[in-house]
Amino acid sequence: MRSNIILGRGDLEVIEMLNKYLIDKIVGIRNVGDGKLIIDVKPNNLVDVVNVVTDKLGGIFVTIVGNDARSIDNSFHNIYVFSLDSLKTYLLIRVKLDPESPKINSITHIVKGADWGEREVRDLLGINMVNHPDPRRLILPDGWPEGINPLKKEFAHSIRPELNNSECYVPLRSDDVVALPYGPYHPLLHEPEYFELHIKGETVVGVEYRGFHVHRGIEKLGESRLTYNQVPFVAERICGICGFVHNVCYCQAIENAAKIEVPERAHYIRSIILEIERLHSHLLWLGVACHILGFDTGFMHAWRIREPIMNLAEALTGNRKNYGLNLVGGVRRDINKDSSARISKLLKDIKHEYDRFISSLTAVKEVIRRLEGSGLLPKPEAISYGVVGPVARGSALKRDVRVDHPYAAYKDVSFKVPTYSECDNMSRLMVRVDEVYESISIIEQLIDRLPGGSILAENAEVPEYREGFSGIEAPRGEDFHYVLTGRFSKVYRWRVRAPTYNNIPALKVMLHEVPLSDAPLTIASIDPCFSCTDRLLVFDVDKGKKFKVSYKALASGWKP
């Protein structure tokens, strides 16, 4: 599994720093591509290493990948992913755990963002997180039997154990707050998720979250029933809004693992469709945000402007959503000359319409007053939670995977990364407003420079037991996929970390002390995409430290 070391960009600098601070703690170091480092450490050194990576190297937490590698080297693997944005490097820290009773020290007290990742690994792989502050289940449905961890290789993807119906979700209440259910079906949430807002007077003082209602078991499906070239089509079904992102991200991870050279034209086509997706996603969000504000005219206009983009996607790929365009090694359909001319004309029209829409939107005083100063997420909190995308950029954190870890054709185009430092809902809205202009400009540049040549790598072979990973800037932030290839053209481990997964925990901060009427808007301001987040299974509750909590079980069953 050893690949040749190709050092580039920040790699040398990172290795130098690792040598300086951690020379005695690192067991092995590998480079799996430009700006992609994997280090092995002993489990008992993990906390020290994570401390150094976050303090000295400026690492921002991305995710945790758990892996049942008992059939490869008789151990469980836990891989902690950090992004060193300034050094343009992904650093993966791997620990190997005991196959019989795997356990590892929790790092949640150092990086708050690791909370969900650790609980997910515990749910799905049965790895014990020592000293984790929250013993509750995150992902699996209520009443799921103990000891059945779906991602362990001995369990089939089709196990459907009897659920224990007496176990049900118990909200935490205290006497001096009013608990207000928001979901699982709420007119302003278009997906099933349950927030319980704790209200004191008119102010939100705490929030409980029970998510992962949309967990469908995609990772397990990809590892069991499908071959590596079928997975892209399922990856697209992770999310109906930003599906193409997952699709490209998976393909890039496999290409990284197998060292497949993708033709330049395929890179350009991928980037064009990615930007088209960003356009429609941001317009969709702007519409929904207007709707939540009670400004339905804005909602209708945003969706009116969005419709030609959907038609364009259909013309280019054959479907309005779920394009089925990618294979490992390239794309399946080409863009012809006529489409280029059509895209240019359409973009011009959209820009004109969008200009008018935005100038009228920002002229509505009621809209601006609702947005300004609500849902604050200060920069230090943003770093600790590892938030991504417009949420990070709205908190003055200049993070954009397209710049930090360039992929596809983004190295060939120039664009601005809009950041705002007010850290409120307005900042997050303005980031998205500006990004639409940037996306239009990126597509124009890509169309101008579209190179010729083939669109699919020939004879792309995927060797066994190679690992690769990839990050992509989705409309909602950084999307991260990790793959370990397996035997018989299958994927051994496929891990998906969607952007919303890192952003939801930060809602605890954003919702604190906001007026109740701003809560739906604040929740929407992270552009939550629950189907992405829930591809596994989840359970989460925030205790809200400010008040005493008495446990009061509701009557059994789910009736509100």
Partner: protein, 156 residues
């Protein structure tokens, strides 16, 4: 199937779908397709609705809530199953955390609650285009005639 003489009001229930059907539903309501001109309106509570729009393969976590919502819709109720996942479970037909689509949901309804299957329109597609969603609803209202008939294939 023409049980509704007047406008139908719909409640949108995501039963574990990936969002693409859901955004196509919203798309149907916005200016390009604008189904409100046919009197079709999205409402905020199942108790106000004539029809339920289901999208997704019905996950185990969501099952009790879906049943609650279904039972809350007054009779005569109509279920409009949108997308391949809902109609037959789709690629998730046997995964560990879903129940595998509408038929399984109806089985639970019948066995555990004694509720017969409501009238149902199935609109397959991944996602179905806005036009097919409108067509499906028109079918339910008896505006157009159904062109496809059911055939059963047995796989040994």
């Amino acid at each position: 199937m023409n049980i509704y003489k007047k406008s139908i009001w719909v409640f949108h229930l995501n039963t574990g779908g990936c969002n693409s059907c859901d955004i196509e539903i919203l798309d149907v309501l916005t200016p390009y397709h604008d189904v409100e001109r046919f009197g079709i309106k999205l409402v905020a509570s199942p108790r106000h609705a004539d029809a339920l729009l289901l999208t997704g393969p019905v996950t185990k976590e969501i099952l009790p809530k879906v049943i609650d919502a279904l039972l809350a819709v007054p009779e005569p109720k109509l279920v409009i199953a949108i997308g391949s996942c809902t109609t037959g479970g789709g690629i998730w037909y046997d995964t560990y955390s879903t129940i595998g689509g509408l038929n399984e949901l109806y089985k639970v309804l019948k066995e555990e609650y004694g509720v017969p299957e409501p009238s149902t329109v199935k609109i397959p597609g991944c996602p179905p285009k806005p036009e097919s969603i409108i067509y499906g609803i028109a079918l339910a209202l008896g505006v157009v005639q159904q062109k496809v008939t059911t055939t059963t294939a047995r796989v040994e």
